[in-house]
Symmetry: C2
Subunit: 219 residues, 2 copies
DNA sequence: CAATTTGTCGAACGAACGTTCGACAAAATA
DNA sequence: TATTTTGTCGAACGTTCGTTCGACAAATTG
Protein backbone atom coordinates (compact mmCIF):
# COMPACT_ATOMS: atom_id res chain seq x y z
CA UNK A 1 0.00 0.00 0.00
CA UNK A 2 2.64 2.61 0.84
CA UNK A 3 4.70 3.95 -2.03
CA UNK A 4 6.88 6.83 -0.82
CA UNK A 5 10.56 6.36 -0.05
CA UNK A 6 10.10 7.13 3.62
CA UNK A 7 7.18 4.74 3.75
CA UNK A 8 9.20 1.94 2.20
CA UNK A 9 11.82 2.44 4.86
CA UNK A 10 9.26 2.15 7.60
CA UNK A 11 7.79 -0.95 6.05
CA UNK A 12 11.24 -2.48 6.14
CA UNK A 13 11.52 -1.62 9.82
CA UNK A 14 8.23 -3.37 10.45
CA UNK A 15 9.21 -6.44 8.48
CA UNK A 16 12.48 -6.68 10.36
CA UNK A 17 10.71 -6.41 13.70
CA UNK A 18 8.25 -9.06 12.58
CA UNK A 19 11.10 -11.37 11.65
CA UNK A 20 12.55 -10.93 15.12
CA UNK A 21 9.24 -11.78 16.73
CA UNK A 22 8.62 -14.81 14.48
CA UNK A 23 12.16 -15.92 15.24
CA UNK A 24 11.51 -15.85 18.96
CA UNK A 25 7.95 -17.14 19.21
CA UNK A 26 7.26 -18.87 15.91
CA UNK A 27 4.73 -17.65 13.38
CA UNK A 28 1.64 -19.03 15.07
CA UNK A 29 2.86 -18.17 18.53
CA UNK A 30 3.51 -14.56 17.61
CA UNK A 31 0.77 -11.99 17.72
CA UNK A 32 0.34 -8.82 15.73
CA UNK A 33 0.41 -7.06 19.07
CA UNK A 34 3.89 -8.44 19.68
CA UNK A 35 4.97 -7.04 16.34
CA UNK A 36 3.33 -3.73 17.13
CA UNK A 37 5.30 -3.53 20.36
CA UNK A 38 8.57 -4.63 18.74
CA UNK A 39 8.29 -2.19 15.86
CA UNK A 40 6.96 0.77 17.84
CA UNK A 41 3.99 1.13 15.52
CA UNK A 42 0.48 1.00 16.90
CA UNK A 43 -1.68 -2.03 16.28
CA UNK A 44 -3.92 -0.28 13.79
CA UNK A 45 -0.98 1.59 12.33
CA UNK A 46 0.55 -1.65 11.13
CA UNK A 47 -2.34 -2.24 8.81
CA UNK A 48 -1.52 0.85 6.85
CA UNK A 49 1.63 -0.96 5.69
CA UNK A 50 0.59 -4.56 5.52
CA UNK A 51 -2.73 -6.24 4.94
CA UNK A 52 -2.32 -9.40 6.97
CA UNK A 53 -0.06 -11.38 9.24
CA UNK A 54 0.48 -13.87 6.45
CA UNK A 55 1.72 -11.17 4.14
CA UNK A 56 4.29 -10.21 6.73
CA UNK A 57 5.64 -13.74 6.79
CA UNK A 58 5.56 -13.84 3.03
CA UNK A 59 7.58 -10.65 2.74
CA UNK A 60 10.24 -12.03 5.06
CA UNK A 61 10.51 -15.36 3.32
CA UNK A 62 10.33 -14.05 -0.22
CA UNK A 63 12.93 -11.35 0.28
CA UNK A 64 15.30 -13.66 2.13
CA UNK A 65 15.00 -16.55 -0.25
CA UNK A 66 15.24 -14.39 -3.35
CA UNK A 67 18.36 -12.73 -2.02
CA UNK A 68 20.04 -16.05 -1.25
CA UNK A 69 19.15 -17.39 -4.68
CA UNK A 70 20.26 -14.24 -6.43
CA UNK A 71 23.64 -14.19 -4.74
CA UNK A 72 24.12 -17.84 -5.50
CA UNK A 73 23.49 -17.36 -9.20
CA UNK A 74 25.87 -14.42 -9.27
CA UNK A 75 28.65 -16.34 -7.59
CA UNK A 76 28.06 -19.40 -9.71
CA UNK A 77 28.22 -17.45 -12.95
CA UNK A 78 31.88 -17.75 -13.82
CA UNK A 79 32.50 -21.27 -12.52
CA UNK A 80 32.38 -24.45 -14.52
CA UNK A 81 33.91 -27.02 -12.19
CA UNK A 82 31.01 -28.66 -10.36
CA UNK A 83 33.06 -29.31 -7.26
CA UNK A 84 33.90 -25.64 -7.07
CA UNK A 85 30.25 -24.82 -7.68
CA UNK A 86 29.23 -27.05 -4.82
CA UNK A 87 31.63 -25.32 -2.50
CA UNK A 88 30.27 -21.96 -3.55
CA UNK A 89 26.73 -23.11 -2.89
CA UNK A 90 27.58 -24.27 0.61
CA UNK A 91 29.52 -21.14 1.38
CA UNK A 92 26.79 -18.90 0.04
CA UNK A 93 24.10 -20.68 2.02
CA UNK A 94 25.96 -20.72 5.31
CA UNK A 95 27.23 -17.22 4.83
CA UNK A 96 23.72 -15.87 4.64
CA UNK A 97 22.63 -18.16 7.43
CA UNK A 98 25.17 -16.84 9.89
CA UNK A 99 24.80 -13.27 8.75
CA UNK A 100 20.99 -13.27 8.93
CA UNK A 101 20.12 -15.98 11.44
CA UNK A 102 16.78 -14.43 12.27
CA UNK A 103 15.41 -14.36 8.75
CA UNK A 104 16.92 -17.72 7.86
CA UNK A 105 15.36 -19.45 10.82
CA UNK A 106 12.00 -18.01 9.89
CA UNK A 107 12.54 -19.25 6.35
CA UNK A 108 13.60 -22.73 7.43
CA UNK A 109 11.26 -23.25 10.31
CA UNK A 110 8.02 -21.73 9.05
CA UNK A 111 7.82 -23.23 5.61
CA UNK A 112 4.39 -24.69 6.24
CA UNK A 113 2.79 -21.60 7.70
CA UNK A 114 2.03 -19.87 4.43
CA UNK A 115 -1.05 -20.73 2.42
CA UNK A 116 -2.44 -20.25 -1.05
CA UNK A 117 -0.59 -18.14 -3.58
CA UNK A 118 2.04 -16.95 -1.09
CA UNK A 119 2.95 -20.54 -0.37
CA UNK A 120 3.15 -21.43 -4.03
CA UNK A 121 5.56 -18.66 -4.83
CA UNK A 122 7.96 -19.57 -2.04
CA UNK A 123 7.72 -23.16 -3.18
CA UNK A 124 8.67 -22.10 -6.69
CA UNK A 125 11.82 -20.43 -5.42
CA UNK A 126 12.64 -23.43 -3.29
CA UNK A 127 12.33 -25.80 -6.19
CA UNK A 128 14.57 -23.63 -8.28
CA UNK A 129 17.17 -23.59 -5.53
CA UNK A 130 16.96 -27.34 -5.18
CA UNK A 131 17.23 -27.81 -8.93
CA UNK A 132 20.48 -25.87 -9.03
CA UNK A 133 21.99 -28.09 -6.37
CA UNK A 134 20.74 -31.19 -8.14
CA UNK A 135 22.24 -30.04 -11.44
CA UNK A 136 25.59 -29.50 -9.80
CA UNK A 137 25.44 -32.95 -8.31
CA UNK A 138 24.47 -34.48 -11.63
CA UNK A 139 27.43 -32.74 -13.19
CA UNK A 140 29.70 -34.29 -10.62
CA UNK A 141 28.21 -37.68 -11.19
CA UNK A 142 28.51 -37.41 -14.96
CA UNK A 143 32.18 -36.72 -14.55
CA UNK A 144 32.54 -39.80 -12.41
CA UNK A 145 33.29 -37.82 -9.29
CA UNK A 146 30.69 -39.47 -7.11
CA UNK A 147 29.86 -42.90 -5.90
CA UNK A 148 26.54 -44.37 -6.76
CA UNK A 149 24.35 -42.40 -4.40
CA UNK A 150 20.73 -41.38 -4.75
CA UNK A 151 21.16 -37.76 -5.91
CA UNK A 152 17.97 -36.57 -4.30
CA UNK A 153 18.95 -38.07 -0.98
CA UNK A 154 22.46 -36.68 -1.22
CA UNK A 155 21.38 -33.16 -2.03
CA UNK A 156 18.61 -33.05 0.53
CA UNK A 157 20.98 -34.40 3.15
CA UNK A 158 23.30 -31.53 2.37
CA UNK A 159 20.42 -29.10 2.83
CA UNK A 160 19.65 -30.87 6.08
CA UNK A 161 23.15 -30.29 7.37
CA UNK A 162 23.00 -26.64 6.46
CA UNK A 163 19.46 -25.80 7.47
CA UNK A 164 19.75 -27.56 10.80
CA UNK A 165 22.46 -25.10 11.77
CA UNK A 166 19.95 -22.68 13.22
CA UNK A 167 19.07 -25.18 15.93
CA UNK A 168 22.54 -25.38 17.41
CA UNK A 169 24.92 -22.71 16.20
CA UNK A 170 26.15 -20.30 18.88
CA UNK A 171 28.18 -17.47 17.36
CA UNK A 172 30.35 -17.09 20.47
CA UNK A 173 31.62 -20.64 20.56
CA UNK A 174 30.98 -22.28 17.21
CA UNK A 175 33.00 -21.85 14.02
CA UNK A 176 32.25 -18.95 11.68
CA UNK A 177 31.28 -19.08 8.04
CA UNK A 178 34.70 -19.99 6.68
CA UNK A 179 35.37 -22.98 8.86
CA UNK A 180 31.78 -24.13 8.86
CA UNK A 181 31.46 -23.97 5.09
CA UNK A 182 34.76 -25.75 4.60
CA UNK A 183 33.82 -28.48 7.05
CA UNK A 184 30.40 -29.12 5.61
CA UNK A 185 31.43 -28.90 1.98
CA UNK A 186 34.32 -31.20 2.83
CA UNK A 187 32.06 -33.67 4.56
CA UNK A 188 29.66 -33.71 1.66
CA UNK A 189 32.30 -33.95 -1.04
CA UNK A 190 34.23 -36.69 0.67
CA UNK A 191 30.93 -38.24 1.62
CA UNK A 192 29.80 -38.77 -1.93
CA UNK A 193 33.21 -39.03 -3.57
CA UNK A 194 33.84 -41.97 -5.82
CA UNK A 195 36.00 -44.81 -4.62
CA UNK A 196 38.61 -44.12 -2.04
CA UNK A 197 39.94 -41.12 -3.82
CA UNK A 198 38.64 -38.74 -6.42
CA UNK A 199 40.57 -40.49 -9.18
CA UNK A 200 38.98 -43.90 -9.44
CA UNK A 201 35.93 -44.94 -11.36
CA UNK A 202 34.73 -44.06 -14.76
CA UNK A 203 36.31 -41.29 -16.72
CA UNK A 204 34.46 -38.13 -17.24
CA UNK A 205 32.10 -38.78 -20.04
CA UNK A 206 31.59 -36.41 -22.90
CA UNK A 207 30.55 -32.94 -22.15
CA UNK A 208 26.96 -33.14 -21.27
CA UNK A 209 24.50 -30.39 -21.20
CA UNK A 210 21.68 -31.88 -19.31
CA UNK A 211 19.05 -29.67 -17.88
CA UNK A 212 21.32 -26.68 -17.70
CA UNK A 213 18.46 -24.35 -17.19
CA UNK A 214 16.74 -25.10 -13.98
CA UNK A 215 13.34 -26.23 -14.98
CA UNK A 216 11.46 -27.33 -11.92
CA UNK A 217 11.36 -30.79 -10.48
CA UNK A 218 9.50 -31.98 -7.49
CA UNK A 219 11.11 -31.50 -4.14
CA UNK B 1 -4.78 -38.38 36.76
CA UNK B 2 -6.24 -41.60 35.41
CA UNK B 3 -4.84 -44.83 36.77
CA UNK B 4 -6.93 -47.76 35.51
CA UNK B 5 -5.79 -49.93 32.62
CA UNK B 6 -8.65 -48.84 30.40
CA UNK B 7 -7.97 -45.25 31.26
CA UNK B 8 -4.32 -45.56 30.29
CA UNK B 9 -5.37 -46.92 26.95
CA UNK B 10 -7.65 -43.99 26.35
CA UNK B 11 -4.96 -41.53 27.35
CA UNK B 12 -2.74 -43.13 24.75
CA UNK B 13 -5.45 -42.64 22.14
CA UNK B 14 -5.66 -38.98 23.07
CA UNK B 15 -1.91 -38.50 22.94
CA UNK B 16 -1.74 -40.13 19.53
CA UNK B 17 -4.52 -37.92 18.21
CA UNK B 18 -2.74 -34.88 19.63
CA UNK B 19 0.46 -35.90 17.87
CA UNK B 20 -1.42 -36.10 14.60
CA UNK B 21 -2.87 -32.64 15.11
CA UNK B 22 0.46 -31.10 16.15
CA UNK B 23 2.01 -32.77 13.13
CA UNK B 24 -0.45 -31.12 10.81
CA UNK B 25 -0.85 -27.67 12.32
CA UNK B 26 2.13 -27.21 14.59
CA UNK B 27 1.88 -26.92 18.35
CA UNK B 28 0.85 -23.27 18.50
CA UNK B 29 -1.41 -23.55 15.49
CA UNK B 30 -3.29 -26.49 16.95
CA UNK B 31 -6.17 -25.99 19.35
CA UNK B 32 -7.46 -28.22 22.10
CA UNK B 33 -10.70 -28.25 20.16
CA UNK B 34 -8.87 -29.77 17.20
CA UNK B 35 -7.55 -32.49 19.47
CA UNK B 36 -10.99 -33.02 20.93
CA UNK B 37 -12.38 -33.53 17.44
CA UNK B 38 -9.52 -35.79 16.34
CA UNK B 39 -9.71 -38.00 19.41
CA UNK B 40 -13.48 -38.14 19.69
CA UNK B 41 -13.38 -36.94 23.29
CA UNK B 42 -15.28 -33.86 24.31
CA UNK B 43 -13.44 -30.66 25.08
CA UNK B 44 -13.99 -30.90 28.81
CA UNK B 45 -13.51 -34.64 28.76
CA UNK B 46 -9.90 -34.21 27.68
CA UNK B 47 -9.07 -32.49 30.92
CA UNK B 48 -9.90 -35.59 32.86
CA UNK B 49 -6.81 -37.16 31.27
CA UNK B 50 -4.44 -34.29 30.85
CA UNK B 51 -3.99 -31.05 32.69
CA UNK B 52 -2.74 -28.79 29.95
CA UNK B 53 -1.87 -28.51 26.29
CA UNK B 54 1.79 -28.32 27.22
CA UNK B 55 1.60 -31.60 29.06
CA UNK B 56 0.24 -33.22 25.93
CA UNK B 57 3.24 -32.06 23.95
CA UNK B 58 5.50 -33.17 26.75
CA UNK B 59 4.02 -36.65 26.77
CA UNK B 60 4.54 -37.01 23.05
CA UNK B 61 8.11 -35.77 23.08
CA UNK B 62 9.18 -37.58 26.23
CA UNK B 63 7.79 -40.94 25.20
CA UNK B 64 9.17 -40.69 21.68
CA UNK B 65 12.61 -39.51 22.67
CA UNK B 66 12.94 -41.99 25.52
CA UNK B 67 11.99 -44.83 23.22
CA UNK B 68 14.52 -43.83 20.58
CA UNK B 69 17.23 -43.48 23.20
CA UNK B 70 16.34 -46.77 24.86
CA UNK B 71 16.44 -48.71 21.62
CA UNK B 72 19.71 -47.10 20.71
CA UNK B 73 21.34 -48.14 23.95
CA UNK B 74 20.03 -51.67 23.54
CA UNK B 75 21.37 -52.02 20.03
CA UNK B 76 24.66 -50.42 20.96
CA UNK B 77 25.22 -52.76 23.87
CA UNK B 78 27.18 -55.54 22.24
CA UNK B 79 29.19 -53.46 19.79
CA UNK B 80 32.68 -52.09 20.31
CA UNK B 81 33.69 -50.92 16.85
CA UNK B 82 32.82 -47.22 16.71
CA UNK B 83 32.13 -47.33 12.98
CA UNK B 84 29.64 -50.08 13.51
CA UNK B 85 28.17 -48.11 16.40
CA UNK B 86 27.75 -45.09 14.19
CA UNK B 87 25.93 -47.15 11.61
CA UNK B 88 23.64 -48.50 14.28
CA UNK B 89 22.89 -45.00 15.51
CA UNK B 90 21.96 -43.79 12.05
CA UNK B 91 19.86 -46.83 11.34
CA UNK B 92 18.10 -46.62 14.69
CA UNK B 93 17.32 -42.94 14.25
CA UNK B 94 16.03 -43.22 10.69
CA UNK B 95 14.18 -46.40 11.44
CA UNK B 96 12.14 -44.69 14.10
CA UNK B 97 11.79 -41.62 11.93
CA UNK B 98 10.22 -43.48 9.05
CA UNK B 99 8.16 -45.73 11.28
CA UNK B 100 6.78 -42.87 13.40
CA UNK B 101 6.99 -39.78 11.20
CA UNK B 102 4.23 -38.00 13.06
CA UNK B 103 5.81 -38.19 16.51
CA UNK B 104 9.30 -37.58 15.17
CA UNK B 105 8.28 -34.43 13.35
CA UNK B 106 6.66 -33.15 16.50
CA UNK B 107 9.84 -33.95 18.38
CA UNK B 108 12.11 -32.29 15.83
CA UNK B 109 10.00 -29.32 14.93
CA UNK B 110 8.53 -28.28 18.27
CA UNK B 111 11.60 -28.33 20.45
CA UNK B 112 11.14 -24.75 21.55
CA UNK B 113 7.47 -24.95 22.42
CA UNK B 114 7.89 -26.51 25.85
CA UNK B 115 8.66 -24.39 28.88
CA UNK B 116 9.89 -24.80 32.41
CA UNK B 117 10.48 -28.24 33.86
CA UNK B 118 9.03 -30.06 30.86
CA UNK B 119 11.54 -28.35 28.62
CA UNK B 120 14.42 -29.13 30.91
CA UNK B 121 13.68 -32.83 30.97
CA UNK B 122 13.49 -33.12 27.20
CA UNK B 123 16.72 -31.17 27.03
CA UNK B 124 18.34 -33.65 29.38
CA UNK B 125 17.42 -36.54 27.11
CA UNK B 126 18.62 -34.64 24.07
CA UNK B 127 21.97 -33.95 25.63
CA UNK B 128 22.36 -37.57 26.54
CA UNK B 129 21.59 -38.59 22.98
CA UNK B 130 24.05 -36.07 21.64
CA UNK B 131 26.71 -37.22 24.10
CA UNK B 132 26.43 -40.79 22.85
CA UNK B 133 27.00 -39.69 19.28
CA UNK B 134 29.89 -37.50 20.31
CA UNK B 135 31.51 -40.35 22.23
CA UNK B 136 31.27 -42.59 19.20
CA UNK B 137 32.88 -39.93 17.07
CA UNK B 138 35.64 -39.36 19.59
CA UNK B 139 36.28 -43.09 19.56
CA UNK B 140 36.66 -42.97 15.81
CA UNK B 141 38.97 -40.02 16.01
CA UNK B 142 41.10 -41.62 18.71
CA UNK B 143 41.62 -44.59 16.43
CA UNK B 144 42.71 -42.32 13.63
CA UNK B 145 39.68 -43.01 11.53
CA UNK B 146 38.72 -39.42 10.94
CA UNK B 147 40.21 -36.36 9.41
CA UNK B 148 40.66 -33.29 11.53
CA UNK B 149 37.08 -32.15 11.77
CA UNK B 150 35.34 -30.26 14.52
CA UNK B 151 33.52 -33.12 16.28
CA UNK B 152 30.63 -30.97 17.36
CA UNK B 153 30.09 -29.72 13.85
CA UNK B 154 30.39 -33.21 12.41
CA UNK B 155 27.94 -34.79 14.79
CA UNK B 156 25.40 -32.00 14.58
CA UNK B 157 25.64 -32.07 10.81
CA UNK B 158 24.78 -35.74 10.94
CA UNK B 159 21.77 -34.95 13.09
CA UNK B 160 20.88 -32.26 10.58
CA UNK B 161 20.87 -34.76 7.74
CA UNK B 162 18.70 -37.13 9.69
CA UNK B 163 16.29 -34.71 11.31
CA UNK B 164 15.70 -32.79 8.12
CA UNK B 165 14.24 -35.93 6.59
CA UNK B 166 10.77 -35.09 7.80
CA UNK B 167 10.68 -32.05 5.52
CA UNK B 168 11.13 -34.00 2.30
CA UNK B 169 10.69 -37.74 2.65
CA UNK B 170 7.76 -39.21 0.73
CA UNK B 171 7.27 -42.88 1.56
CA UNK B 172 5.86 -43.72 -1.88
CA UNK B 173 8.83 -42.47 -3.86
CA UNK B 174 11.81 -42.13 -1.54
CA UNK B 175 14.08 -44.88 -0.25
CA UNK B 176 13.08 -46.82 2.86
CA UNK B 177 15.02 -47.20 6.08
CA UNK B 178 17.64 -49.62 4.76
CA UNK B 179 18.76 -47.61 1.78
CA UNK B 180 18.39 -44.30 3.53
CA UNK B 181 20.40 -45.36 6.55
CA UNK B 182 23.10 -46.88 4.40
CA UNK B 183 23.33 -43.78 2.25
CA UNK B 184 23.50 -41.34 5.12
CA UNK B 185 25.84 -43.41 7.25
CA UNK B 186 27.98 -43.87 4.18
CA UNK B 187 28.00 -40.16 3.43
CA UNK B 188 28.94 -39.33 6.97
CA UNK B 189 31.62 -41.98 7.32
CA UNK B 190 33.26 -41.20 4.01
CA UNK B 191 32.71 -37.55 4.77
CA UNK B 192 34.81 -37.54 7.89
CA UNK B 193 37.15 -40.39 6.96
CA UNK B 194 40.86 -39.77 7.25
CA UNK B 195 42.74 -38.80 4.10
CA UNK B 196 41.49 -39.44 0.61
CA UNK B 197 42.71 -42.95 0.94
CA UNK B 198 45.14 -44.58 3.34
CA UNK B 199 47.91 -42.35 2.16
CA UNK B 200 47.72 -38.98 3.80
CA UNK B 201 47.10 -37.89 7.37
CA UNK B 202 48.46 -39.09 10.66
CA UNK B 203 48.89 -42.68 11.59
CA UNK B 204 46.33 -44.54 13.55
CA UNK B 205 47.36 -44.61 17.17
CA UNK B 206 46.03 -48.03 17.89
CA UNK B 207 45.44 -51.33 16.31
CA UNK B 208 43.07 -51.25 13.46
CA UNK B 209 43.78 -49.77 10.12
CA UNK B 210 41.36 -47.12 9.24
CA UNK B 211 40.05 -47.68 5.79
CA UNK B 212 38.99 -51.24 6.24
CA UNK B 213 36.42 -50.28 8.74
CA UNK B 214 35.21 -47.23 6.90
CA UNK B 215 34.78 -48.87 3.56
CA UNK B 216 31.15 -49.71 4.01
CA UNK B 217 29.19 -50.53 0.96
CA UNK B 218 28.18 -47.82 -1.37
CA UNK B 219 24.50 -47.49 -1.90
C1' DC C 1 -4.76 29.76 1.48
C1' DA C 2 -8.05 25.67 0.84
C1' DA C 3 -8.23 20.94 -0.58
C1' DT C 4 -6.47 16.56 -0.73
C1' DT C 5 -3.50 12.88 0.26
C1' DT C 6 -0.67 10.39 3.57
C1' DG C 7 0.14 8.60 7.94
C1' DT C 8 -1.30 7.32 12.84
C1' DC C 9 -3.94 5.41 16.38
C1' DG C 10 -7.69 4.42 20.28
C1' DA C 11 -11.37 1.70 20.44
C1' DA C 12 -13.89 -1.80 19.23
C1' DC C 13 -15.51 -6.11 16.46
C1' DG C 14 -16.59 -11.09 16.41
C1' DA C 15 -14.22 -15.22 16.73
C1' DA C 16 -11.29 -18.44 18.81
C1' DC C 17 -8.37 -19.61 22.54
C1' DG C 18 -7.06 -22.76 27.02
C1' DT C 19 -9.21 -23.97 30.92
C1' DT C 20 -12.89 -24.72 34.63
C1' DC C 21 -17.29 -25.87 36.75
C1' DG C 22 -21.11 -28.41 38.00
C1' DA C 23 -24.34 -31.79 36.67
C1' DC C 24 -24.79 -36.43 35.87
C1' DA C 25 -24.47 -41.30 34.25
C1' DA C 26 -21.95 -45.70 34.58
C1' DA C 27 -19.10 -48.73 37.07
C1' DA C 28 -17.04 -50.36 41.11
C1' DT C 29 -17.29 -51.14 45.95
C1' DA C 30 -19.64 -51.91 50.40
C1' DT D 1 -29.08 -52.15 47.59
C1' DA D 2 -26.70 -47.96 49.04
C1' DT D 3 -22.54 -45.41 48.44
C1' DT D 4 -18.53 -43.97 46.48
C1' DT D 5 -15.47 -43.62 42.61
C1' DT D 6 -14.64 -43.03 37.77
C1' DG D 7 -15.61 -41.11 33.48
C1' DT D 8 -18.10 -37.67 30.38
C1' DC D 9 -19.68 -33.42 28.73
C1' DG D 10 -22.55 -28.84 27.80
C1' DA D 11 -21.91 -24.46 29.00
C1' DA D 12 -19.50 -20.93 30.27
C1' DC D 13 -15.29 -18.23 32.09
C1' DG D 14 -11.94 -14.52 31.07
C1' DT D 15 -8.43 -13.59 27.69
C1' DT D 16 -6.32 -12.98 23.49
C1' DC D 17 -6.54 -13.22 18.64
C1' DG D 18 -6.43 -10.80 13.62
C1' DT D 19 -8.59 -7.23 11.66
C1' DT D 20 -11.51 -2.92 10.88
C1' DC D 21 -13.48 1.67 11.58
C1' DG D 22 -13.63 6.37 12.08
C1' DA D 23 -11.47 10.35 13.85
C1' DC D 24 -7.77 13.25 13.18
C1' DA D 25 -3.06 15.39 12.59
C1' DA D 26 0.73 16.25 9.24
C1' DA D 27 2.37 16.77 4.87
C1' DT D 28 1.59 17.64 0.10
C1' DT D 29 -0.71 19.70 -3.69
C1' DG D 30 -3.62 23.13 -6.23
Amino acid sequence: MPVGRQAQRKLKRIVRAAARVFYEKGYEGASIRDISRASGVSLAGLYYYIDSKQKLLYLIQAYTFKTVLERLEERLAGISDPVEKLKVLVRNHLDYFLQHPVEMKVLSHEDEALEGEYRKEILRIKRRYYAIALCIFDDMRDRGLTRRVNPRVAVLSLFGMMNWVYTWHRPRTDPGTDTLAETMAGMFLHGVASGHTLSRGKEPRTIRSRRVAVAGRAA
